[in-house]
């Protein structure tokens, strides 16, 4: 061992002794820091992973909506289904479901005493959704509706 190596070793021992005198060693401190950073990185990474997995990618279109018992819609009633932008028109012969999205350019039509009017471009429809006046070129879209085995009305958006 050379004289220089011997001096380095002595300084190192002295440094360790000083560190021990303060309650921890330099080696222990570095080890603690390394572990801390690895664990913290892991936690942050885990948080990012969870955020990624539970990310809400935005609105999705529901294709089937359970509207509850069909007995809740007696003949003569007109029921707005806001979540589907639709209206249920219950008649003696059955239930008619109309999309309130205007077949012209997609605005939501509003119900009036004599039918429906599009607030954007003025298309008008009768109370059953039939076209009265453009610029729409077709009647309001009829949505598929059925009663399931439990007696619930199921509105199909597709």
């Amino acid at each position: 061992m050379s004289a220089t190596q011997s001096r380095d070793s002595s300084e190192k021992q002295a440094s360790i002794q000083v560190a021990r005198g303060q309650g921890t060693t330099r080696r222990g401190f570095l080890s603690l820091m390394t572990k801390g950073m690895v664990y913290l990185s892991g936690l942050l990474g885990l948080r990012g992973l969870i955020s990624f997995l539970v990310y809400d990618s935005g609105p999705t279109t529901q294709t089937r909506i359970n509207l509850g018992a069909s007995s809740n819609y007696p003949p003569g009633t007109r029921t707005l289904v806001a979540e589907a932008n639709a209206i249920l028109i219950s008649q003696e012969g059955g239930v008619l479901a109309l999309s309130l999205i205007c077949p012209h350019l997609g605005c939501l039509v509003g119900e009036t005493p004599d039918g429906f009017t599009c607030p954007c471009h003025g298309s008008r429809f009768d109370r059953s959704g039939g076209l009265i006046r453009g610029p729409a070129r077709q009647s309001m879209v009829r949505l598929e509706i059925e009663v399931d085995r439990d007696g619930n009305l199921i509105l199909s958006m597709a």
């Binding site: 950073m37 690895v38 942050l44 471009h121």
Partner: protein, 422 residues
């Protein structure tokens, strides 16, 4: 043993550095992610495709009642990358930058079936008609200048701001096409100076600096009200209520000095509408300085009739007699019976008048309804300002004390008695 300890110590030291880098990298990634706006998705009913423009642009007002964002979204008109939250990427493929109605992109932004082109009815092909209008082609001014400087033998237009062809000529003055005006091919210095100094009031031109001339290009030049505004501010509005001040951003700014081909801005500062009217030396009747331009001038006159014309005169046909008739004849009218009548549609879109079936409206010599008018039970007429909503009543000339020569029925003859001194 000493050697093994040294190796272990070395490994601990070398593990510390990657740990620091790992932590810093994760913190940086998190910081960068948090700088992005909170994602706000929109699912327009017309496209049914999610877009995230509202993440940054929630504060913009609805552009018009006819274009609600819940139905149209943003991308349908503006283009852009609908899923991006990075501003640069989201805006990279936008049409026309901030103005999707610029005529270079209006066909894609505003056109399309069910929108403003692609219809069988000419009256609904707005973008196609505007592209043929003299406001877009500037064909009249170019033809006049080229004729004046001997570059063409007559006043028939041959060139426009852009090249365009018309396969379906419907009027006697319609042209089959125009070439693009190319100043570099002109030899006369006067025409070159015109190209350099005077091409700033057509629909594709950037306006002259100044609040009086402040306007956008394309459809928005008229339908987005900018007169007197700072164009650097966000503007998200389209309207059918276009006041004369918007027209004045092009039509009432001053004159061109044909000796040196320079624009001379008007020097007066009018304090009232009478003196603000176009061309200080001319005289005008009450209608002209009381009403807004669009109260009388029709969509075909302003936005083109689908044909290419050589000048304004060929497309300007509204006269005093359109509303007032002549000594011999009442003005042309039409009683609304068709639920699809254009008058009903327009009065719905700009409800200054409550028109219905059975109402009688004035019509132009080309059959266009003046949908802001109505004949009253006593035989007089009412007109509602399209921008102001103000109601005016007026009578026909027939049966009045007017002594006008029946052979002289153009507006200029009416001005001889009815013009107002200024």
């Amino acid at each position: 043993m000493v050697g093994l300890n040294s190796i272990a110590t070395g490994l601990r030291r070398t593990a510390l550095i990657p740990a620091v880098f790992l932590l810093l990298t994760i913190i940086l990634a998190g910081w960068h992610n948090n700088r992005r706006p909170r994602a706000i998705a929109l699912l327009p009913s017309l496209t049914n495709q999610p877009e995230y423009c509202l993440s940054c642009h929630q504060d913009l007002p609805e552009i018009s009642r006819s274009h609600p964002f819940q139905a149209f979204g943003c991308v349908l008109c503006h283009g852009g990358e609908r899923l991006s939250l990075e501003a640069d990427l989201a805006h990279r493929s936008m049409r026309g930058g901030r103005n999707p109605s610029d005529l270079t992109v209006a066909q894609d932004s505003c056109g399309g079936s069910n929108c403003h082109t692609g219809e069988a009815a000419q009256e609904r092909n707005h973008v196609q008609r505007v592209l043929t209008s003299v406001q877009a082609t500037y064909a009249g001014a170019i033809a006049n200048l080229r004729y004046s400087f001997g570059a063409q033998p007559d006043l028939t237009a041959r060139m426009g701001i852009f090249a365009i062809r018309d396969e379906h000529i419907q009027t006697p003055t319609g042209l089959p096409g125009l070439e693009a005006f190319a100043p570099e091919n002109e030899t006369n210095p006067g025409i070159q100076a015109f190209a350099q100094n005077c091409l700033n009031c057509h629909l594709s031109a950037e306006p002259l600096p100044g609040e009086e001339t402040s306007r956008l290009t394309g459809c928005a030049a008229c339908h987005s009200l900018t007169a007197g505004d700072d164009l650097d501010q966000p503007l998200h509005s389209l309207t059918l209520k276009i006041p004369y001040t918007q027209c004045n951003t092009c039509h009432n700014r001053g004159n061109y000095d044909l000796r040196n081909m320079h624009f001379v801005p008007r020097s007066d500062k009018p304090q009232d509408r009478l003196h603000d009217y176009y061309q200080p030396i001319a005289q005008f009747v009450r209608c002209e300085w009381t009403l807004d331009c669009i109260d009388c001038h029709t969509r075909y006159e302003i936005m083109g009739d689908g044909d290419l014309h050589s000048n304004q005169r060929e497309i300007r046909y509204i006269q005093c007699r359109t509303c007032h008739g002549t000594l011999d004849e009442l003005p042309l009218t039409r009683t609304i019976t068709d639920p699809e009548d254009l008058a009903l549609r327009m009065s719905f879109l700009n409800p200054v008048i409550d028109l219905g079936g059975g109402d009688t409206v004035l019509v132009s010599s080309r059959g266009e309804p003046l949908w802001n008018t109505r004949r009253l039970a006593d035989g007089s007429y009412e007109l509602f300002g399209k921008a102001s909503g103000q109601r005016f009543t007026f009578r026909a000339v027939k049966g009045s004390a007017c002594q006008q020569n029946t052979a002289e029925q153009e507006s200029r003859y009416c001005h001889e008695c009815h013009a107002v001194e200024r």
